[in-house]
């Protein structure tokens, strides 16, 4: 059985290039999928399922265009779809589609939604649920993004040279946001799988870009904890308390192998190395602290600095971590201070700090966890 979502994106990408019509491309891809679901169980799966689907979608596009006589030029192009040597062009089409969906002239959320819809073939209703809007609102958002692509003439192409260097981080940011939408407490787990699928696709399409492979490695490593991240009532379990035997060790091995052959050229590789530092046998805090030092140099955000303090506290003793916390106030700095103070053996002060952190924690789940830590002391 062929990978249906994969075929969907392939067909949409190619039909957009040939017809310039996003809606037509999606309609025809959907109809091809529906035809497969109806006929394959009855007639058997064809030898070349992907080619079968592309042919059905192309014929459908030709039918539609034939009825609107002004589209003669487009019709000729679609009819010429399967010329020898076109396979390479079709591969490029998906890259064109991803870069167009992730164009920075579109709003960030629209980019994520459009990528899910057109590249991934994810139903609009599912996308709407994760963005906490109605299906009709999400339909409008996606329609508006497609109209802007046509009306403002956002090019259907992969940028080259300097422009590629400028645009690639934006594409990776969309995949990263998609992944976190699947990974977050209230997210849609299927979106994390979709992000991994797209990162795999992009890694195959852009083998010369290390940050693409690094992002895939990061996803695989973080996703490997999915079965250990929640307790029986669904609360998040912090990394140091997770049952590491429940991690997906196949996913970890794949992520690590990928990372080993990927040079470190940007933030995703560094984050992946940090994630790889947590192994089945324990966490290599010295290595993790070193990677956080590197990350803080290129992304000196408060969140990175705080995580760096944690890593240093666990690698070189609580005092090293506490020293790096100087100047930070509020949540989560006070929770980290509480943890490192407990590690340093000052139980009374640590309990006070855990209670202080609980009072300012942003969620009920975190508040409960912090009060539990205070009670343990």
């Amino acid at each position: 059985m062929t990978d249906l979502p994969d075929s969907y994106g392939r067909i949409v990408a190619t039909l957009i290039r040939l017809t310039g019509d996003w809606n037509l491309a999606e309609d025809c891809a959907q109809e091809a999928m529906a035809a497969a679901l109806e006929r394959w169980p009855r007639d058997g799966t064809p030898d070349n399922p992907g080619g079968w689907l592309m042919t059905v979608a192309r014929n459908r596009a030709v039918d539609v265009l034939r009825r609107s006589s002004v589209e003669q030029a487009k019709l000729r192009e679609v009819a010429m779809l399967f010329h020898p040597g076109e396979q390479h062009e079709i591969e490029d089409d998906r890259l064109r589609l991803i870069f167009t969906c992730c164009h920075p002239a579109l709003a960030l959320e629209a980019r994520v939604a459009l990528t899910l819809r057109t590249v991934g073939g994810v139903p609009t209703a599912d996308i709407a649920r994760v963005f906490l809007v109605s299906e009709s609102a999400m339909t409008r958002r996606i329609t508006r993004a497609k109209s802007k692509i046509t009306e403002a003439r956002i090019p259907y192409r992969v940028p080259s040279g300097v422009a590629l260097t400028e645009r690639l981080p934006g594409v990776l940011a969309v995949l990263y946001l998609l992944f976190t939408r699947g990974y977050d407490a209230d997210g849609e787990p299927a979106f994390a799988d979709e992000a991994i699928r797209l990162a795999r696709l992009l890694t195959g399409l852009m083998p010369a870009e290390p940050e693409v492979a690094a992002l895939l490695a990061l996803f695989l490593l973080q996703h490997s904890r999915r079965h250990a991240r929640r307790d029986a009532v669904g609360d998040l379990v912090p990394l140091d308390r997770q049952d590491r035997s429940r991690w997906d060790h196949e996913s970890i091995a794949e992520g690590r192998a990928l990372l080993e052959r990927t040079p470190v050229t940007g933030p995703y590789a560094i984050q992946a190395h940090i994630a790889a530092g947590h192994g089945a046998a324990g966490s290599d805090w010295r290595s993790i602290a070193g990677w956080y030092d590197q990350l803080a140099r290129i992304q000196p955000t408060p969140m990175v600095e705080l995580n760096r303090a944690v890593a240093h506290g666990y690698a070189f003793g609580p005092q090293s971590g506490l020293a790096l916390l100087a100047g930070f106030e509020g949540y989560p700095a006070v929770a980290i201070e509480a943890d490192l103070t407990a590690k340093a053996g000052d139980r009374d002060r640590a309990a006070d700090l855990f209670r202080e952190a609980a009072a300012v924690a942003p969620s009920e789940v975190e508040r409960r966890a912090l009060l539990a830590r205070a009670a343990e002391l």
């Binding site: 009306e151 956002i154 090019p155």
Partner: protein, 108 residues
């Protein structure tokens, strides 16, 4: 594709003046390449007159139709292959640094 580029002020301009490109170079380059069809600065917004016709009566008011801190101070008509090319032309304009530019496509 034609783009109307509105040249606007911004309350938070670029502070490093040394990196702001020169307007005469920008005009010369884009006139030569044919990407700039027309364009000019506008006289200050205080010279603007807003015109409406309601119930058959011509109603005039003094000043621009929107009272904002950011005002339109100029325009250029660009002829570009696609939005990426228009963005590249806009990003090389000094007012991309000192203000902001809005690219609006039109059919023409």
């Amino acid at each position: 594709m034609k783009y109307m580029m509105f040249v606007c002020t911004d309350t938070e301009p670029e502070t490093d003046e040394s990196i702001v490109p020169d307007i005469f170079t920008w005009v010369a380059e884009n006139d030569a390449s044919g990407r700039r069809v027309a364009g000019n600065q506008l006289v200050s917004p205080s010279s603007a007159t807003t015109v409406r016709v309601r119930g058959g009566e011509v109603l005039l008011s003094d000043g621009p139709f929107a009272e904002t801190k950011e005002v339109i101070v100029g325009f250029d008509i660009l002829e570009c292959a696609d939005l990426d090319e228009a963005i590249a032309v806009a990003a090389a304009h000094p007012m991309a640094y000192n203000g902001r530019l809005e690219l609006r496509p039109y059919h023409g």
